[in-house]
């Protein structure tokens, strides 16, 4: 077929292709592209403190927001929250999945328990931890004592973010466990057997077979967990309400939170949301570019 003929055929097929793509394009346009474009537009509008009288006045608002103390502090909180939750969540997920990967009697029970948090909503998980850490009635607060009793881990500026992170790690553990378990089950058994015959002990097999072969799985889980950490809202809203003293005001809480200082200012909220989108985009690209070179995707 000549190039001209191929080109003609492509044009001839275009209406049918568009018709078949139309439902997806409508849904994508209505629920992703339009809100995104609208957020970009809103983000450059300057509104009065009540959120009314919004006016377009150039795009400088994005730079102003980026430079603001509130954004930088919220970005710092969110970044630290991700640093706390992602590595620990991944490590725990790998550890539990490796433990539960043994072909032992009754292991199905533990697999169910370890993966159960995936069926637990953020609200339920947060409430559970709220009560566990409550300085008056919380069992964990009783065990830990000290600052956990007065003023309480969620009420202390130095520990609040850690406490929220623990809740988040717990809530995400089921997801990480399931993903890593699936990854483990795709590793061919003969790689372990070969290493075993060659004399590799448990740690050598883990570091030379399990971890490298889990590369794609861990990259996926890492990107998802980082994205979730940056988008976490429920934990902050229910456990600390962004406090004490802004120590748990994440970017999402700055956008939506009841106690946020930009509450009601849709222009500023949209600007922060767009910047959060940009931050996540850059982070995901960095993660994928940086880690992918060391990740092996099979033969």
């Amino acid at each position: 077929m000549t190039r001209d003929a191929a080109s003609r055929r492509r044009w001839r097929d275009a209406p049918l292709a568009l018709a078949m793509l139309a439902p997806s394009l409508v849904v994508l346009g209505a629920f992703v592209l339009y809100p995104l474009a609208r957020a970009f537009w809103l983000g450059h509008q300057r509104c009065d403190p009540t959120g009314a009288n919004c006016q377009s006045n150039g795009w400088d608002q994005y730079i102003d927001v980026f430079r603001s103390k509130e954004f930088q502090q919220a970005f710092g909180v969110t970044f630290r929250f991700a640093l706390l939750t992602v590595p620990v969540g991944l490590a725990l997920g790998i550890g539990l999945a490796v433990l539960a990967d043994k072909q032992l009697r009754g292991m199905g029970f533990f697999r169910t328990v370890f993966s159960s948090t995936v069926a637990t909503s953020v609200a339920v998980a947060s409430l559970m931890w709220f009560f566990l850490l409550n300085p008056s009635v919380g069992v964990l607060a009783d065990w830990i004592g000290g600052v956990a009793k007065n003023p309480g881990l969620l009420q202390d500026e130095g520990t609040a973010l850690w406490a929220v992170a623990v809740s988040s790690i717990w809530a995400n553990l089921g997801f990480t466990f399931i993903v890593v378990t699936a990854g483990l089950q795709s590793i061919p058994a003969d790689l372990y057997e070969s290493a075993y015959v060659d004399g590799a002990g448990g740690w050598m097999r883990f570091s030379n077979v399990t971890l490298p072969m889990l590369g794609p799985t861990l990259l996926f889980a890492g990107v998802v967990l980082t994205s979730r950490a940056f988008q976490s809202y429920g934990e902050f809203d229910l456990l600390t309400g962004g406090g004490p003293n802004g120590s748990t005001t994440s970017l999402t809480y700055l956008i939506y939170g009841n106690n946020s200082i930009i509450k009601n200012n849709s222009g500023l909220q949209a600007a922060v949301a767009v910047l959060l989108f940009a931050v996540l985009l850059v982070l995901s690209l960095l993660q994928i570019r940086g880690v992918e070179r060391r990740v092996h995707y099979g033969n």
């Binding site: 003969d190 057997e193 070969s194 290493a195 015959v197 490298p212």
Partner: protein
């Protein structure tokens, strides 16, 4: 460089392995001499791989003993058995380079970085892999991967090589070439090879000895020539040889209560014979012609040289059974009776 192995005869004594009440290996005793190239041959599910895995230490015997040299190794980890294993899938680490794959057994043993790099290079040179050392397994062909698996096995100079159908993933041409390479490697390494296959061609062309297995039990052990020329049972007679040996029921060929076996190349078309049959199929294979017919209810095959005149389908032919080529088997036990 030579890879001289320690003296490594392998002795299996009454070895049994039971999985969920089913004996995968059933009371197998086998002596594999030092420097032997022993082929464990049998159909899928006959227990040959399980037997090999017990030698390598990947399965614990339910009963019986495995000894390497003079040492009973039942309770000894694979690492201490001085055994290397080559898997059907090669089991190469896909994320490591060829060099790192070959070095791995030495790394596990704490050999210094420079020493193991040197030994890996030598093993790679032995198998013609020098130019591929920096590649990953995914960038190699099947034959090259197979050689990397071999290089990883020879690099630590084990006393015994266990190979589990290492050629089965190769195409026919490469398989033929690699068979010859393995025989040469065995001669050069002077190690004991235990090689599992279901392919009788591999068994006949590579092994110094062949152990034929069926349903977890050992049917016969001998040189390839012995198991072909004097099969110990109907199973061996029909498993080795293509087409398989013709085995005729009692009373058809001779007047004794025995099953009579005869290889297709020994069965003759004889116009004067009283055993008459009708040709049902003629296969011209170029170098030979296979004539199919039936004696009573039993299908038989006659192999003719290509230059011989072949009958046509539907022709009435006579078959003669030269006595010196007959194999007699007990109808009750299927074991050879003229031994």
């Amino acid at each position: 460089m030579s890879y001289c192995a320690a003296v490594a005869a392998v002795r299996l004594s009454s070895l049994t392995k039971v999985f969920d009440g089913v004996a995968a290996v059933d009371d197998v005793s086998l002596d594999i001499a030092d420097h032997d190239f022993m082929i464990l041959l049998g159909p899928s599910g006959c227990g040959k791989s399980t037997l090999l895995r017990m030698i390598a230490g990947l399965e614990d015997p339910t009963s019986g003993d495995v000894a390497i040299g003079d040492v009973r190794v039942n309770d000894i980890e694979p690492k201490q058995r001085d055994v290397a294993m080559v898997f059907q899938s090669y089991a190469l680490y896909p994320h490591k380079t060829v060099q790192a794959n070959i070095e791995f057994p030495l790394k596990v043993r704490g050999v210094s970085k420079t020493e193991r790099a040197e030994q890996a290079r030598q093993a790679a040179a032995t198998l013609g892999l020098t130019e591929y050392l920096d590649r990953k397994p995914g960038q190699l062909s099947g034959g090259q991967r197979q050689r990397v698996a071999l290089a990883r096995a020879i690099v630590r100079r084990p006393a015994v090589f266990c190979m589990d159908e290492p050629l089965s993933n190769l195409d026919a041409k490469l398989r033929g070439e690699t068979r010859a390479e393995l025989v040469a490697l065995h001669a050069r390494l002077a190690s004991t090879f235990v090689y599992v296959t279901h392919d009788q061609v591999e068994a006949m062309t590579m092994g110094t000895h062949v152990a034929v297995m069926s349903r977890g039990r050992l049917e016969q052990v001998g040189t390839p020539q012995e198991v072909y020329a004097r099969p110990a049972s109907v199973f061996v007679a029909q498993f080795i040889g293509t087409p398989p040996m013709n085995v005729l029921p009692v009373g058809v060929v001779i007047d004794r209560p025995v099953l009579v076996g005869i290889r297709p190349e020994h069965l003759e078309l004889d116009p004067t014979s009283q055993v008459r049959t009708t040709v049902t199929l003629v296969e011209h294979l170029g170098h030979e012609t296979l004539v199919h017919a039936r004696v009573g209810e039993t299908p038989v095959v006659v192999r003719l040289d290509a230059i011989e005149d072949a009958p046509s389908v539907g022709d009435d032919v006579g078959l003669s059974f030269p006595e010196r080529h007959l194999h007699l088997f007990d109808p009750a036990t299927s074991r050879r009776v003229d031994a």
